[in-house]
């Protein structure tokens, strides 16, 4: 009897939400209404748009592949931009990322490198491409340089984080043998970050491939220029053909990136790639895919 009265009274609803989430919910609702009003977003506009949509899609299909030569030329240029920007970006990002790691480098080296990485990361590749188009003129070179900057920002950041998370025991052991700094890096640091490096390098190649199809919008080479021109001419069936080819290329790129990850991180052979047994190592959500 007494034991029963000592127990706390049971809650009516054990899952009752507290006050703050409710306030946050109301604030969010108020914000949505305010923002929609600010930007002239209303149901009426959506309805008008939906009427247009049918017309728009009827003009999009069927895709028109008759000008396939322009299409292939643009896609090849996009591929070139992606390959070169990834190679250049990775080569430049490694020393910068190493400089930025605070556990191996003194503050005077890491702060400038970190600033460089943050700056490179802040701007969307297309905005960087605008500046390079002014600097080196229209064409693929501006695209390569813009995506190189993006790669430096992304790989530099992740490489720095990877190095900062390594175990210093191996580094100390290599140092204790009297090894020079290059050997400390080669045998103490790099083996520890190699598999993560492969992960984000393939990821960056994938991301550069996606962006290389877009930098053309500002004149930096690749299929993007053709896409934007076709769109502005209301040449929608050609737009559809370009979009389908871009999506196909991006999906092929993603498959290749997965294969490379399985070969280097999962130690897969070609025979393994055909089998579905060993799954590709999962990646953490990174910047943007």
């Amino acid at each position: 009897m007494r034991a029963a009265t000592d127990l706390p009274a049971p809650l009516d609803n054990p899952f009752r939400s507290s006050v703050w989430p409710r306030i946050a919910g109301v604030a969010l609702l108020v914000y949505v209404v305010w923002a929609c009003a600010q930007m002239d977003i209303s149901w009426a506009r959506v309805e008008i748009g939906l009427e247009n949509a049918a017309h728009f899609f009827s003009r999009l299909f069927p895709p028109n592949f008759t000008r396939w030569e322009i299409l292939v030329k643009g896609l090849l240029e996009s591929l070139q931009i992606a390959v070169l920007a990834s190679a250049l970006g990775i080569v430049l990002a490694l020393p910068i990322g190493l400089c930025a790691s605070r556990n191996l480098m003194p503050a005077w080296a890491s702060w400038p490198a970190r600033f460089l990485i943050v700056t490179a990361r802040s701007f969307h590749p297309v905005i960087v491409a605008i500046v390079f188009v002014k600097a080196v003129g229209f064409g693929a070179l501006a695209g390569v340089l813009a995506l190189t900057v993006a790669s430096i920002g992304f790989i530099g950041k992740l490489f720095t984080e990877a190095i900062e998370e390594i175990s210093l025991k191996q580094v100390e052991a290599v140092r204790a043998t009297g090894a020079p700094f290059a050997s400390v890096l080669g045998f103490g640091v790099l083996p520890q970050v190699f598999s993560r490096f492969i992960g984000f390098a393939t990821y960056q190649l994938d991301s550069n491939l996606r962006n290389s199809t877009m930098v053309g919008i500002v004149g930096a080479g690749g299929i993007g220029g053709t896409l934007f021109a076709a769109f502005q001419r209301f040449d929608y069936d050609f737009v559809c053909a370009i979009l389908l080819s871009i999506i196909a290329i991006i999906m092929a790129g993603e498959l290749m990136a997965t294969a490379v990850r399985r070969i280097f991180i999962g130690n897969a052979t070609f025979a393994d790639l055909w089998r579905r047994g060993r799954a590709a190592p999962k990646l953490q959500p990174l910047q943007d895919d």
């Binding site: 930007m39 002239d40 939906l50 969307h124 905005i127 877009m214 919008i217 769109f231």
Partner: protein, 274 residues
């Protein structure tokens, strides 16, 4: 005499120790080969106009001299409004994406919806959302809704569905089965299992994904204006077309500041949420 030790060692010494099997080495070698071939082929065929390249240092100096005395007078009017619009596009787009992505993510999780065709269909939706760049989504929505922030918001939302839905679906699939089994044993309905079994487990992951995506969307919404989808990109496009480089400089600095602030806010919030 000297032969005795070698004779004793030989069975082991003769064995060659390798880290990888020859099939694994072949696969790695093939990747290196393809990579080198791709780089060499690209270097040889890429079109670079030498006159433009020779001109580059001069152009950079010219660009900087046109940009340098940054004219802050441009900021208060149009640039500030465009910046707020960009933030609104990013935030509304992210919210819309969360609302749209959750059901798709649930449909993609096999332990919640144990039907492989539905899972695959949901995953197809998520993959198609991710394969299309946000600028392409923006082009499509500008075609449908006309230029303006509505197109931008929808572009951001549709681009984010794939990202949010995929990560939410994975978080749901990784949820511990224990609490769900307990709820099932107590006779809980499907919705109760979702709200009381899965949701508390995936809640931190969900908010962290949402914040992460918002951060990305702030960056992305800054360029959507280049194709007419509203935000600061439209101001940038206008300034570029008029060769007002001092104004371009103001806009670039504004974007940089907002992106850095957004990243700091997200990092701080994530620390508290998780």
């Amino acid at each position: 005499m000297a032969s005795t030790p070698t004779a004793m060692q030989s069975p082991v010494a003769a064995r060659e120790w390798r880290r990888f099997t020859s099939a694994q080495r072949l696969a790695r070698f093939a990747v290196y080969l393809v990579m080198t071939a791709a780089i060499v082929a690209s270097l040889q065929t890429i079109e670079i106009i030498p006159e433009f390249l020779a001109d580059a240092p001069e152009q950079v100096v010219d660009l900087l001299s046109r940009m340098w005395p940054v004219d802050w007078a441009h900021y208060p009017g149009t640039v500030h409004e465009a910046l707020v619009e960009t933030l609104n596009i990013a935030s509304l787009g992210t919210l819309l994406a969360l609302v749209l992505a959750l059901p798709v993510g649930i449909l993609a999780a096999h332990n919640l919806v144990p039907s492989t065709p539905i899972n695959l269909l949901a995953k197809l939706v998520l993959v198609s959302s991710r394969s299309v760049n946000s600028l392409v989504w923006a082009l499509l929505f500008v075609g449908i809704f006309g230029p303006g922030p509505l197109a931008g918001t929808l572009a951001i939302a549709f681009r984010s569905i794939g990202f949010v839905g995929k990560l939410c679906g994975e978080a749901l699939e990784e949820a511990h089965a224990g609490p769900i089994e307990a709820l099932t044993a107590a006779g809980a309905s499907w919705t109760s299992r979702l709200t009381f079994g899965y949701w508390p487990q995936v809640k931190p992951a969900f908010w962290s994904i949402a914040l992460f995506r918002w951060d990305i969307n702030v960056r992305e919404s800054a360029v959507l204006g280049l194709v007419g989808a509203g935000g600061i990109g439209m101001a940038l496009d206008a300034a570029l077309n008029l060769f007002q480089w001092d104004r371009v400089a103001v806009i670039l600095i504004a974007i940089f500041a907002v992106v850095v602030i957004a990243e700091v806010v997200v990092t701080q919030l994530r620390k508290r949420v998780i």
